[in-house]
Amino acid sequence: MKTKLSTFLISKREILKELVTDLNTEFKYVSLLGVDTIGTTYSVSKRGSSVGDSNWGERGFVIRVYNGANYSEYSFNTLNNLEDVKNKVKSIVKNDLELLVKSGTKLMEFPLINEEEMTKEFHTDYEIDPFSISAEEKLSKMTELMNIGLTKSKDFIDFRVNFEEVKISKVFISTKKDLSQSILYTNMSLIAIGNKAESGVKYDFRGLSGLKGFEIFDGALLEIDRVSNSVIQLFDAKRIVPGDYEIICDPSVSGLIAHEAFGHGVEMDMFVKNRAKGEEFLGKQVASEKVNMRDGALSGDEVGTYLFDDEGTLGTDTLVIEKSILNSGISDLLSALKLGTVPTGNGRRESFERKAYARMTNTFFEPGEDSLEDMIKSVKKGYMLEGYFSGMEDPKNWGIQCVIAKGREIINGEFSGNIVSPILLTGYVPDLLKSVSMVSKTPLELSGGGACGKGYKEWVKTSTGGTYIKAIGRLG
C-alpha cells in the first residue's frame, strides 16, 4: 500500500502557490514548506495506560525569503488572512532588519538560491494501515505483550509497551519547485523495569522502528525475552573498574558511535561556524581501514528516509568515511551556498516552527568481513557493549560520550558471565575509530526508535546502526 498525501495539503496547494507567487513579486527568492503530520501514541503499563496525539504531529507552514543579504523566515499555522501573512513577512524583512541594522547589527551575506525546475512526489509503502486498526485492538495487543513480559521475573515491577504511528505529509513550493511527499513510519518500545532490594531499580528497553504499518507488531514478541533477560542480568551487574578495554559494540552501540562521532562531526553548518574539526580532516585518515560510514535519506529505508529535505533539496546517499578517509560532510542548503559546495539534502527542521539545520538521516557503519565468533574469540579481556541510553557529540574537539546500558565481560575469548553497568564510553573520536580492528559481516541493523538533538534542542527522527565492531574504548 502507498501512503497518501494529506487531503488538507492537497486542498490548499493552489492557495499556497499563489502566496509564493505574490511574495515573489517583492522578493527574489521565496519558498514555502507546508506540513501536515498526524500520529498517535499508545502506552500500556501495569499502573495505567494512555492514548494521545503524537508529539511529532503538526500542521503549519514556514516561508523563507531572500532579504537582499541573507534569508528571513516566518512560521504560521492559520490561513484565515493571507494578507496578514504577506504583511508579516514584509515586516520581518523590512522593519525588523532595518531596526537591527540601525542598532549596529551586521548582516552576513549569502548567495541567492538558484533552483532547477522540478516537480516530484514520493510515497512510502506499508502493509497494514495502522490508522485503520482500532485503538481497542492496539491496546489489547500491547496489554498481551505487557502481561507476557511481567511473567518473566517476579522482580519486575513494570513492563511498559509503547507504540507510535506517524504519517508525515509535506509540500515544498518555490518559484521553480513543486514537491510533495507522504511517509508512514511506526515505532515500538518495550521497557522492562525491575526492583530488587539488594540491587535497586534496573531497567532496559528494546525498540522496533521502520517505514512500516501495523505489521511492526509482528516483531515485538521476539524482543520480550531479550529485554527481560537483560534486566535480570542487570540485577547482578557490578561497577566497572575504569580503564581502557577491548570492546565489541553491538549494532546499536556501533550506530550510536557513528552518529555521535562522525555524524554530528560532519554537519556542515558547523563548518560555516568553524565549529567542526572535520572540515580540516576532509581527505585525511580519521579511522581504521575497516571503517566505511554512510548517511543519507537514500542510504537506508528507515525513519530518516525522504525524497526532499525541509529546504526542498533532494535527499542523497553520502559516503562520509571511505576506508578510513573522511570523504564528505552532510549539508543543508544555506551552508552549502556559503561554502560553495553541493547540498546533500540534510536540511531538516524539528517542525515547521523551527529553523533548518544540517542534520543526520540514516547513519551507519557498513558491514565488514569478520565473523562475530572470531571477534569474540580475539578478545583477551574486554566487554561486549549492548544497548545505550544516550550519547553526546563534541564536533569541535572530537570528544565522545555514550551512556551504555551494559557490558558483558569477555575473558580469553569467552563470556565470563559477569555483567557491568552503568558504563560511560568516552574518549577522543579518532583514537576510538582508528582502533577499530574488526567489523562483522552480520546483516546491517538500523534502528530509529529515538530522536536526535543538536546540542540540547532541535529534535528530529534519525536512524542509526551498523554491525558489530571491535575497538579499544575508555570505559568508566
Partner: protein, 432 residues
Amino acid sequence: MKNIIELLNIKSNVDEYKIVVSTVSSTELFFIKEELQMNRSKDVKHINITIYRNFVENDIKFKGSSTTVIEPTMSMDEISKKIDTAALAASFVKNQFYNLVDPTNDVPTDLPSTFKEGNPIEHISNLVKDIFSEDNQFEAFINSCEFFINKKDIRILNSKGVDVSYTVYDGEIELITEANGEKESIELFDVLNFSDYDPAWIKETVKDSLYKSMLRTKAVPISALKDIPVILTGEAVQDFFSYYQVKAAAQMIYQKISTVEIGDMVQQGEIKGDLVTATLKPYIPNSSKSRSYDDDGFFLKEITIIKDSKLLGYYAQKRYADYLGITPTGGIQNIEINCGSTSIDDLKKGPYLELLNFSDFQMDPLTGNFGGEIRLGIYFDGTLEIPVTLGSISGVAKDVEGNMLFSKEQQKLNSFIGPKFIKLNNISIAGN
C-alpha cells in the same frame, strides 16, 4: 474556542474534558560571530484537548483519557471527527478513577517581565548588544549564538469550570564561545534560559564562559584517579538533585519505582554530610518555568517536600494525589535546594577535582546512576591547580549521598536555586 466548547458539551461520548490553548509568538535571531545569519518569527496557536470517559466495571470506577490536538485550520467537521476518535480511544483506556481539578478563587501571582512592554525586536536587540559587549576577553571570543524570545499566552479550561489564563515569556540564548590554544582551538557550549531582562547576569555568564574557554585551551587530558573528592558545579548540581525530586514524586510512588514513604529519609544509610531540603516554588524571579497554574489548571502554592532529608510530602499532580489519597501540590516546575554551611574555600581543602563543564552530565532519576564526559575540570593535587579535560566520572547516588557537602554559596539557574557546589567523596575517574 466557543464553538469547540459547545461541541464538547453536546457530545454524549465525552464525559469530561480539558482544553489547553497556547498562542505563541516568537522573535529569533541567529548569529555567526557578530554577523546575523538569519532572522525568524512565528505566530502559532495550538489547542490540546483531553477527552475523558468515566465507566464502572465490577463496581470499580475507571477513567479513560485521550489527548488530541486541534489545529486552527481544521473545519468543525474535522474537529468533530477528531473528538469522536479520541473519545472512542479513551473508552478503551482503563485507568484508576481520579477527579479533574476544581475551580478556585485563588488570585494568581503576576509574572513580571520587561518583555511585556515595547517591541520584541528591540528587546532581542538589547540582548544581542549585551552578549557582544563582553566579546573578546581572556583570549577567547564568541563563536556563534542564537536568541529566542517567546511570548506564550496560555489558557486552561475544563468541564468542571476551570478557566484560567496567564502569559509567560520564555527567553533562550544558545552561546558558543571559542578560544585558540597552542595546538588547537576549543569551544564551550552554554544555554541561558530566562523570562525577564537581566543584563548583568547575561554579561556575567558570557564572561564566565569566555574564561572557561580560555582555561580549556590549557587543559591536559586527565589521568585515571581513584577515590578523589569531586566538586560538581553549575547545571550538574541541578541535575544531581533531580534524583531526590523524582524520588518524592507521587507518580513514581504509584508506579512502585520509588518506595520512599512520608517520614523516611531520602538519603540512604548513615548520613555524615549535608541533608537535602527541597522546596517547590511556583514563582522564582526570572524563571521561564514560573507560573501560577499547572497544566491541569491547578493553582500552585509553595511547599517544602523534603526537610533535612526527611520526606514531608509527595510532589503530586491531581491524578496521582487522588490515587494516593493525598493533597496535590500540582506540577510545580521551580525548585529550591537549601545550601550547606561550608564555604567553597573549605570545600577545596586538600586534593580535589572541580568539574566545570561536561559533554552532558546525566543523572538517571530511576536508578541514581550519574556521570558524564569531562570537558573541563580543575585538578588540585594538593599543590598545583591543573586544568584537565577528557576522562569521565560515573557513580551511583546511594554510594555518595551519605557524605555529600553543599556549599553555602548559592546559584540560580532559571528554574533552580541551590548550592553552587556539591562535594562528593570517593569517586573514581576514567582517564589516561
